[in-house]
């Protein structure tokens, strides 16, 4: 579909101090247009304080075929999880 606008992935920061989260994607003619479209499509209800857009074609993704090699070795290494500590109440939500 060569006559479609390029795809952009949209990341929104919900509030100050949090990181940007992927919220979806949209089509736009260029990055500035993508920001405007993201404003209309994803922040209509005050969802965000900051918008990032990234051309979807620029994202390099891992291959699902490599899943075993990438993730399975961690299966039997539970000690990599910091789950063996008692968290003091004063520390609050972690």
């Amino acid at each position: 579909m060569s006559n479609e606008w390029p795809l952009y992935e949209v990341f929104i920061r919900g509030q100050h101090g949090l990181s940007h989260r992927h919220v979806g994607s949209l089509h736009a003619t260029d990055a500035a247009h993508a920001i405007q479209n993201a404003r209309d499509v994803y922040t209509r209800r005050k969802e965000g304080v900051s918008i990032w857009v990234v051309p979807a074609a620029e994202i390099t993704a891992s291959s699902p075929d490599d899943k075993g090699a990438l993730y399975d070795p961690a299966d039997d290494k539970v000690y990599r999880h910091p789950s063996f500590f008692d968290i003091p109440d004063d520390a609050g939500a972690m």
Partner: protein
């Protein structure tokens, strides 16, 4: 102010589900909703000051000759070029009008203008970018945008005719309007018509174009057919 926002909001909502791209569809619907929201404020204030029973009554139970909107905003959508050029010309005027009204001595008027101005700043940015993109675009898009500009230019003059009941001297807004419009048209490779001929009669209500009545018939049919209907 309220009638122009209402009529343009209704016109834009006619695109809902029909715009050339999903993202444009949502954007136009958002702008339409912004304008309807502003209508509620302006007509709500007018009702408070004795113009009618409520904002809804003013919107749905007046006929064309009682509407005081600009002729520009009642012009039909036709194609996307006409819709966006109409939006651009209105946004450019709306921005200047609200900027002036934000400093109005009446606190209610000033509060509505300040709130609306934030929305309209974005409307103007978006329609300006679209006019440049489509004007300085393909041969087809440029021809359509130039055609839209030629068609709508005779409705620009009315926006700057100051009447006795205007909240501000709209004639004084023209230099700022022209600066923004001409720099945008230059970037869009479009040529503003040289004629100063201006259709008028929308703001005063005495001579609307034939399009307003048809639009109101659609917009008002439900509350007029079912006067007791509630949301």
């Amino acid at each position: 102010m309220g009638d122009s926002a209402l009529v343009l909001g209704q016109r834009l909502s006619e695109w809902c589900g029909h715009a050339p791209a999903l993202e444009e569809d949502i954007a136009l619907a958002n702008i339409a909703l912004d304008l309807i929201g502003q209508t509620q404020l302006w007509l709500g204030l007018a009702a408070e000051r004795g113009a009618g029973a409520s904002a809804d009554a003013l919107a749905f139970h007046r006929d064309a000759w009682d509407f005081h909107n600009l002729l520009l905003v009642e012009q039909p959508n036709r194609d996307f070029a006409v819709t966006m050029m109409r939006q651009f010309l209105f946004d450019a005027w709306h921005f200047e009008a609200l900027t002036a009204l934000a400093a109005h001595e009446d606190a209610d008027v000033s509060a509505i203008a300040q709130k609306s101005l934030k929305e309209v700043t974005y409307h103007r940015e978006r329609s300006t970018d679209t006019v440049i993109a489509l004007g300085d675009g393909t041969e087809e898009s440029r021809a359509r945008m130039q055609g839209a500009l030629d068609r709508l230019w005779p409705y620009v003059g009315e926006m700057f005719i100051t009447d006795a009941d205007d909240l501000t001297d709209v004639a004084a807004l023209r230099p700022s309007f022209e600066a923004h419009v001409h720099s945008t048209l230059d970037a869009a490779t479009l040529i503003a018509p040289t004629s100063d001929f201006a259709h008028q009669g929308g703001k005063t209500g005495v001579r609307h174009t034939e399009h307003l009545g048809h639009m109101l018939a659609v917009m008002q049919s439900l509350p007029r057919s079912y006067p007791d209907a509630t949301w």
